[in-house]
Assembly symmetry: C2
Homo-oligomer: 306 residues x 2
């Protein structure tokens, strides 16, 4: 028994030495950065400008990608609201630390003062679950999840799936975009929007409609001063942060549209990137976790190479 | 079989009706807020001013509680550095979105310009694991963890435990305080400190020394502008945010010390509070998660009642 072990170990040493010799220069360990450096053009996708929202305010621009598959009626309604200029001049009214940033009409509850809506809906039933579109294969992450039976990505959106029913739902991770509501499930609809700005509040999953996520400029929302009134609302109107405009990228002149590419999440490159994040091999790390939580995989974005 | 089931169900209805009748007004559902409202003085503890750090800067005060049980040499060394005024005037040099805020001497690598240290150590071996002190009982959270075999709290500090070896380690959750280091495990020591400002970076667990956490004023650190240089460092010295002073609360005149109480995490009240966070019963929620991640339990703090 002992002897056999020794032989095996010697064999391993030889194999390692041979590999190192064959490559001449030892290969650097696979890191998330090296996976991205080796990616090819087909590992990246350009988001459809029809599904990109540009929020412009004093601090800069926040870009959000909508996914109609998660909540088709909400995406259509939010775009309708955006296109009738509903959000232009609407302020950020709430920044709760380690929870959410929220914007909406502060007078929405007062029929005399509420901002008018011409063609869009004011309210919609919540859209909490969806079926995977025909032909889309779901690849669960290898380490499971504390809250859901399976989790993975749908074009960069973190989602959970019940393998029994096949139903999926989006996950409340950092940067996810949703439609605020009151107590009733049909009291939202998209006039009040929120973005997760902290530890994934997974207890919100399937309680409120998510339909997209921030893909650029999140650091502008996350650095906003926190509100001091209950639930992080700004205590005075003067503290509210006006949004100059919220627009669909497709409606902007070509040069003003965001030029971005997002790492595809259905490729071998993505699986290698996840593996590099599960087991960090950068020299700083002395212990690899060997695990990854879905909310700890911020999907890479880049400006397309010329 | 069927019949017996019916009898049981009828019995349940009666029991429910009797309870409702006996209470006259139906009892409101147990929420995190109602658990705290029913807490008694003994559910709260006052932190030892000898283990509280007060970081004062232009935006206000951040209060951190140190726990020498996690990393005794680091806590002693950080307090020694604090007491020789090492951090007074030192700036916040790095704010990486959804990761860490960090402060330290920007000239530390240059022996000619590095801020001098008189009695404290510049470097210490990392302290990554610890044994539970005699008499401390560990109560794991009911839902487990993705990264560690068991997780729970030690006086408000989120920790993991290996039931085999009995060894524990602190968890990188929002607000946790650690000592930055270079690649070598003994290259830290407390001259450069960091606080987690986003989704729990659990891959750092047992790679770097944690020794306390922010208990008040976290929203001042989390709202700082993000650095634009690699790893979130501020690109220019002008962007750095000077710390006016970092002091041990015990060294402040009594009226200037923080007056705070922290919910004990070894009580029945705490277990009820965890249960109320696992299953939200506030009227807004239509679905209770039935699960909780350790990093989603921000331990309540209050100003002591008069």
């Amino acid at each position: 028994m002992r002897r056999q072990e020794c032989t095996l170990i010697a064999g391993l040493f030889l194999a390692l030495r041979f590999t190192a010799h064959a490559a001449e220069i030892p290969e650097p360990p696979t890191t998330a950065a090296s996976v991205l450096a080796q990616s090819t053009a087909s590992d990246w996708r350009r988001p459809d400008p029809e599904n990109l929202l540009c929020l412009d305010f004093d601090r800069g621009r926040v870009v959000m990608e909508l996914d109609p598959r998660l909540a088709p009626r909400h995406v259509a309604n939010v775009k309708a609201l955006v296109r009738e200029g509903y959000f232009n001049g609407i302020p950020i009214v709430r920044v709760q630390d380690n929870y959410v940033v929220q914007w909406g009409d502060p007078d929405a509850a007062d029929p005399a003062k509420a901002r008018p809506i011409s063609r869009a809906q004011r309210q919609l039933p919540a859209e909490l679950e969806f079926g995977l579109p025909e032909g889309v294969r779901f690849s669960p992450l290898p380490d499971g999840d504390l809250y859901a039976p399976e989790v993975g990505f749908l074009d960069g959106i973190p989602i959970a799936r019940d393998p029994g029913s096949g139903l999926c739902w989006p996950i409340h991770s950092y940067g996810m975009l949703g439609a605020g509501r009151d107590d009733a499930l049909d009291s939202g609809g998209g006039t009040e929007l929120y973005v997760v700005n902290g530890q994934a509040p997974r207890h919100l999953d399937r309680n409120v409609t998510l339909f997209g996520r921030v893909i650029q400029g999140m650091e502008l929302l996350s650095a906003l001063p926190r509100g001091t009134a209950p639930m992080g609302f700004y205590a005075t109107p003067a503290e509210r942060i006006p949004i100059r405009s919220l627009r669909v990228a497709a409606d902007l002149p070509e040069p003003e549209r965001p030029r971005l590419e997002i790492l595809r999440t259905d490729t071998a490159t993505f699986r290698r990137w996840v593996e590099a994040r599960r087991n960090r091999r950068e020299p700083w790390f002395h212990r690899a976790a060997g695990k990854i939580d879905i909310s700890n995989l911020p999907i890479p974005i880049r400006t397309p190479p010329p």
